[in-house]
Symmetry: C2
Subunit: 207 residues, 2 copies
């Protein structure tokens, strides 16, 4: 298809498509003549991925470039490619503080990780994030028990979310599914928790 | 205690304590002399609540005022007071759009709510939020099944979170516990989901 047809089919405005081409986010079409290039399914898929990273993942263009590089580097195994996207979504990672609260929270997070047999890189952003949250909860006087939350997360991820990603299809599509699933199921769960809270508060207090 | 002791005990800087007094967020101490007022436990609890709303809930001062008004209005039942805080945390609520996707998503959300026997106000922010997320997921071509998420949310809220709020103690403390629990367990669950995703991706793809 022509670039105007690519724009129409994807819903991405023509100047934006051209911008992605200039930035190297979108690969060039096949040059048929000096003023005409042919675009195909792979371009449509790439535009879907860019839109997911931009609009749902809220990633800046620099981070999107890194994710796209990992998608295009076919020497990278799928797990590594997905990890690049996954870590990019994490935003700013809290850094360890020099206090005993941090160390004990980190130890508890690591115990939880090993209790579930999870395979996690030591530099994984959610490991530091969970440590920060747990240490914060303790400083505020809460006595959180994260185990039931970890169980629920494990079950939802292994039984629902990961089944919705096709790992042996196009690399763009796998990353897109991971980004959409991570962000949108996360937001949906948050809204569901708030609904359950409202209802439970009504049940206990306004019978 | 004197105002300087209140500042030291709460960890809130003295100028900030004075600002909260001027703004009416903190109730005046008992005036013992022209230049001396006495503060007590209720002031400490109020400062904890303000900090929770500000630092964890990230609420603007205008919203904090509304929540504090509900706490101070003892004619409001506890459920209504908690609801005021809960809805304040929701931020901007998406408004219904005039398309069939929104209507069908709204219908599915309402089916879910009634399947779980949840008691939810029709104007509850998470009802509109979930509708917006579901309709967005569908427009992006996802086929989400929210039921397992609703089940997990229901279980965690009724069996863990709501048990950590003391409903018959001081009103400040109940609202503080609700705010901390809503935000921090939410963030913890999100980090746990990401850990489970990383591990499951490793298990499936890099055995």
């Amino acid at each position: 298809m022509r670039i105007s047809e690519l724009s129409a089919a994807s819903g991405v405005p023509l100047p934006t498509v051209k911008y992605y081409l200039r930035e190297g986010l979108l690969h060039p079409g096949e040059q048929l003549a000096a003023t005409r290039a042919e675009y195909d399914e792979t371009h449509l898929r790439r535009l879907r991925l860019i839109r997911a990273l931009l609009e749902v993942g809220k990633l800046p263009v620099a981070s999107i470039k890194k994710v796209i590089e990992a998608v295009d580097d076919h020497s990278l195994p799928v797990h590594t490619m997905l990890g690049t996207a996954h870590y990019a979504l994490a935003g700013e990672v809290p850094s360890a503080t020099q206090d005993p609260e941090w160390d004990s929270a980190q130890a508890e997070v690591d115990q939880l990780i090993s209790a579930f047999g999870w395979r996690i890189e030591s530099w994984a952003p959610p490991r530091a994030e969970l440590t920060e949250i747990l240490s914060r909860m303790r400083k505020l006087g809460m006595k959180p028990d994260l185990r039931p939350y970890a169980e629920a997360a494990d079950k939802l991820v292994t039984e629902v979310e990961m089944n919705q990603i096709s790992f042996d299809g196009p690399r763009d599509a796998a990353v897109e599914a991971l980004v959409l699933g991570t962000i949108l199921y996360g937001r949906a769960f948050d809204a569901l928790r708030r609904l359950a809270q409202e209802s439970e508060s009504a049940r206990r207090l306004a019978p």
